[in-house]
Amino acid sequence: MAAASYDREDGGGGGGGGAQRGSRDAYDPNYVPDSVKTFVTHLYRHIRDKNVYEIHQMYEGGFQRLSDRLFRDAPWPSAEAVAPYCDGDHVFLLLYRELWYRHAYARLSPLTASHRAESWANYCDLFSVVLHGVVNMQLPNQWLWDMVDEFVYQFQSFCQYRAKLKSKTEDELQQLKQFDTAWNVYGVLNYLQALVEKSMIAQILEREKEGLEQFTATDGYDYEGGSNVLKVLGYYSMIGLLRIHCLLGDYHTGLKCLAPIDLNQQGVYTIVIGSHISTIYHYGFANLMMRRYVDAIREFNKILLYIVKYKQYHQKSPQYDQILKKNEQMYALLAICLSLCPQHNLIDENVSTQLKEKYNDKMTKMQRFDDESYAAYDELFSYACPKFITPSPPVLDQPLTNYNQDAYRLQLKLFLYEVKQQQLLSGVRSYLKLYSTITIAKLAQYMEVDEATLRSILMTYKHKMHAVDNNGKIVSSTDFDFYIKEDVIHVAESKPIKRHGDYFLRQILKFEEMIGELEKVQFD
């Protein structure tokens, strides 16, 4: 499915669009090819029969194949035109339109404000049916995840689109005014919040811990004749909220929205790889911005290891490119975290090797703290950060400017500010590693600062290397430690910790595999 494209660029930002004109003019929304008739008839039947397996096949495979064959650069037939093939079923047509717009977003650019507004209206109708009506379907997790993911993506895309005012034509500005309620930030947040609340998902997960309910064990599906739609949409909406809050720069609230999901346990978020990656990427990013480097490093390490192992199984998936892109971005974020907080013993060998291949030079630079080092932090952050948005609508009666970069520039500036505050710490670190004790006076001399400044640097090290967790508890994230007695710094022993246990476990498995291979060899 063509969804889950977190970072698709918006097409050109309005204007132009001549390239696509030809095929669009030829497009007749009322013409329904036979293969589409069959597709709609079958999909409708499988949904009525609650045949999740077949729905999933048609959703992941069939839709994609038809799009590639018939609708490479034209929209699918209109919902009205296919209505006769699904008994005009209202809910089915809402789902069809959701696919229609998602396909249009992925393949046709630039999209007009009215297209965007129509897609918004369709999501409102669809979510309202789910929230208020009695939906009696079972839909594949992949589809439900894609819905939430696409909803957030289209919101982000709309914010970017309307913030680029300079290049807008009179006509486009007129449309912006006309559709000024579309993708309103309150509406977007409230739909997701309503899905979370109405589904009672937080309570379900809580009850599951006590063994009173099953959700994770059934992958969110309902095997007793009910529907999974509201529950699972509510579940994924928590991840959607995390993402939106990250886009807004509200990391604290984002993590709070995710809190009902325990990342240390097997969870429904890991079933769909797009959801798994989105969760960890945003969780890690939020923790990085909140200076909880160790939490970010742990989760990045886990998911990167997972991707190393399993990416081959997704090669044919339409999301493969996105998986690779997010993979690269998370390595960049990991490089940042480890440069600020060198906790290399938390990193698995495989991940460490990949990291060195990709970012060894950059990481050496980032440890140095000169101009080049800032450039490296700037570059990696800009490459790997989410596409921040300004949620407020444009002021159209003032001179028109582009403000689509404002949010990004603010987050970048504040991040680099943090980097600057930590700029002397790597120097202190490398000096102190050479000593078991050293006087303040002597170290100040080596570092060419006065004693008062050095005392400040040492306290800064302590402050920055201790995070405050959700319960207000202080947690150390130091790789090595020291304390001061009056005027003498005592360095706590910092022998590199060798993880023999893990090493042996890995070797045992490796040898077992080799022996297995050898036993398979047959001599003729």
């Binding site: 930030v185 309150y186 947040l189 409230n190 919040q193 807004l248 720069g249 509200d250 990391y251 604290h252 609230t253 709070k256 911005m289 909140m290 200076r291 013993n345 949620p391 407020s392 404002d406 520039r409 603010l410 987050q411 500036k413 504040l414 500010y417 943090e418 505050q421 008062a452 005392r455 400040s456 640097i457 040492l458 306290m459 800064t460 302590k462 402050h463 920055k464 201790h466 405050v468 207000g472 202080i474 150390s476 430690d481 020291f482 304390y483 001061i484 007695k485 009056e486 005027d487 706590a492 910790i497 993880r499 023999h500 246990g501 893990d502 476990l505 045992i508 498995l509 077992e512």
Partner: protein, 226 residues
């Protein structure tokens, strides 16, 4: 410490809990910020909700309220609250003179330059005095950072960090000797204060978890063993 007010603050917290994305609670949240100032309480979640509403509708932003939120956030150090607020405040608003001052103050606290902090703070009494308890909160933060760093801290270093001297400092020390387990020793040049022990200034108290292997890792070799 604020026994009179919980009934009222409870309602605002409840409003936030019921619907965190509701533009209609903006003035309630502003009132709640003022309550926090006068009652010396603090609620980061509510303040972030307010900053979020300002972010959605910048024309409703009140500079005075934002300033109070930021000062409260400084008082919440060592937490990252000040940054969390700045992430939500548009850059051109941050250019206002009083916000620039607060950002500089935060920078001094983040880099433990207490001398500069107190100098700068004394020049900006008019902004800071609005919020009662400011000095005490920063002193608490200074002591927190000192306790992470020092087993024994020279008296002048402590005096500078908390900006208390002479008789007032004697009294302050007396209080902490009685209540926090500090000990005062005679040093070569000045008195030395032995701060309370914690796992941060006594790293040997930290539990060493490096050599434990999680159970799920061991389970991976079960098939090999059988």
């Amino acid at each position: 410490m604020e026994s009179e007010q919980p009934a009222e603050s409870y309602t605002v917290e409840e409003l936030v809990a019921v619907n965190p994305y509701n533009p209609d609670i903006l003035s309630d949240l502003e009132g709640f910020v003022n309550d926090q100032v006068s009652n010396q309480t603090y609620n980061l979640d509510a303040n972030l909700s307010l900053l979020r509403l300002y972010q959605f509708e910048p024309e409703r932003l009140s500079v005075q309220i934002v300033s109070r939120i930021l000062i409260k956030a400084l008082m919440a150090m060592p937490g990252p609250d000040f940054s969390l607020c700045l992430f939500l405040i548009p850059e051109q608003v941050q250019m206002e003179e009083q916000f620039k001052t607060l950002i500089v103050l935060s920078h001094y606290l983040e880099t433990a330059r207490f001398r500069q902090f107190w100098d700068e703070a004394s020049k900006n009494r008019s902004i800071l005095d609005v919020v009662p308890g400011f000095e005490q909160a920063i002193q608490m933060y200074a002591i927190h950072v000192l306790s992470l760093t020092y087993q024994k801290v020279p008296r002048p270093v402590l005096a500078e960090a908390i900006n208390i001297e002479g008789l007032a400092l004697d009294k302050f020390l007396e209080y902490h000797v009685a209540n926090s387990g500090w000990v005062i020793e005679k040093g070569a040049h000045s008195h030395i204060i032995v701060l309370s022990r914690n796992e941060f200034n006594h790293p040997e108290l930290k539990k060493n978890t490096a050599e434990t292997v999680p159970f799920e890792h061991v389970t991976r070799i079960f098939p090999v063993l059988s």
